[in-house]
């Protein structure tokens, strides 16, 4: 009996010590890890959709929370004006999970500048063709207000990649959510962008 007690105690003690140290370390490094993730994944994609970006682009990132959902926004601020933003959005309904996209929106013309896929676990081959810039060009120039963001097959304006309907639908869903968010919160976005604070 004493043996079993000792075994349980030692194992529990080790587990607790480990859990405690790791949680502490994770807390300490979480900010740095998130920043690395942003700088290496989201920021390059955001730069791709926005074209020219100023040198401090990465530092201007902020988050807006709406209805418990956090939106990552990368504004392009030049000469005191926020001319465009890149926004990360999650599209639901993909084959094997959600698809994350970054949509670039021109705030002055109210049109989409470009779309890129940042995270998807779709079928390699056909499914991944949805992430190719040559396909994603179908979003360029689409006005936020006038476009029906759904697939042609469902009466909308966007063509799907043939053979990857569900994946294309997930991307459209992501872009649609981004468009709706921008239309609904445009002023808040511009205010935060010009506020000049890094982070949220």
């Amino acid at each position: 009996m004493r043996d079993i007690l000792r075994m349980v105690l030692v194992l529990t003690a080790i587990c607790l010590l480990s859990a405690f140290s790791l949680t502490a370390l994770n807390e300490g490094l979480a900010g740095q890890i998130a920043k690395q993730q942003r700088d290496n994944v989201q920021v390059p994609r955001a730069r791709e959709v926005l074209g020219e970006t100023p040198a401090d682009f990465a530092e201007r990132y902020f988050e807006i929370e709406v209805d418990g959902v956090s939106w990552a926004v990368f504004p392009r601020v030049e000469g005191g004006r926020c001319s465009a933003i890149a926004l990360e959005s999650t599209g639901r309904g993909g084959y094997a999970g959600d698809v994350k996209v970054i949509a670039g929106v021109d705030l002055e013309s109210g049109a989409i500048l470009g779309v890129r896929v940042t995270q998807s676990s779709e079928t390699p081959g056909i499914g991944s063709r949805v992430a190719e810039p040559s396909y994603l060009r179908v979003y360029r120039g689409r006005p936020l207000k006038g476009t029906a963001f759904s697939l042609r097959a469902e009466g909308g304006d966007i063509e799907a990649v043939s053979g990857a309907t569900r994946t294309s639908a997930a991307v459209v869903d992501g872009v649609r959510r981004a468009a709706e968010f921008v239309l609904a919160h445009r002023d808040e976005i511009v205010r935060r962008a010009l506020g000049g604070q890094a982070g949220s």
Partner: protein
């Protein structure tokens, strides 16, 4: 349809052992004879499927809601170690013949990179339940397939004339390389 593609992908194109490099230790160790290879293959299919399923559930039900993703490594390996323990105890009671024939290979499955790797991959690829349930046994079958094929080849080595320095592991690795090359040909399928 896409599930069938996923399965074929996991068994052949991205064979977990020959293309993804997972599970090599037992691969070289248990493939000298066909019986051990078959036994190990079966055991891996069973434990890998169960382990991947349980860790997937742990990930979705515990780690994500509580934002504990960084504990993934520890949680998963503990699940696998505990699972193998239970499987051992269970097998000893209900299938003693199989338990004896597997011998030491059963506890070794705990450190099998293929099992842990498959669990990690199914989470990394963000599969939903249905995809995961297809992916796991398919990957394990790929492992077993490679293992059995390899054992078949190695049994031939016993009667072939191989220079001393090449024997055993060295020729094993080179043969595995050639098998891997053959499997590379499957890439054209997708």
């Amino acid at each position: 349809m896409d599930l069938i593609l996923l399965a074929i992908n996991a068994i052949l194109v991205k064979n977990i052992l020959l293309m993804q490099y997972l599970g090599n230790c037992p691969f070289l160790g248990t493939s000298k004879r066909m019986e051990t290879a078959l036994g190990m293959g079966m055991a891996v299919i069973f434990t890998l499927t169960l382990a991947t399923t349980i860790t997937w559930v742990v990930h979705r039900a515990v780690l994500v809601p509580f934002k504990l993703q960084y504990m993934q490594t520890i949680a998963f390996i503990l699940v696998i170690a505990a699972l193998v323990q239970f499987v051992e105890i269970f097998m000893k009671k209900t299938l003693p013949a199989l338990y004896l024939s597997l011998g030491i290979f059963l506890p070794l499955i705990t450190t099998n990179c293929a099992v842990f790797g498959a669990a990690l991959l199914s989470v990394k690829n963000d599969y939903d339940f249905v995809h995961m349930v297809v992916f796991a046994p398919a990957s394990a079958t790929g492992f077993a397939l490679a293992l059995v094929l390899f054992a078949g080849l190695r049994e031939r080595f016993r009667v072939a004339h191989i220079p001393g320095a090449l024997q055993d592991t060295a020729i094993g690795l080179i043969t595995a390389g050639l098998m891997s090359l053959a499997f590379l040909g499957f890439k054209g399928m997708t």
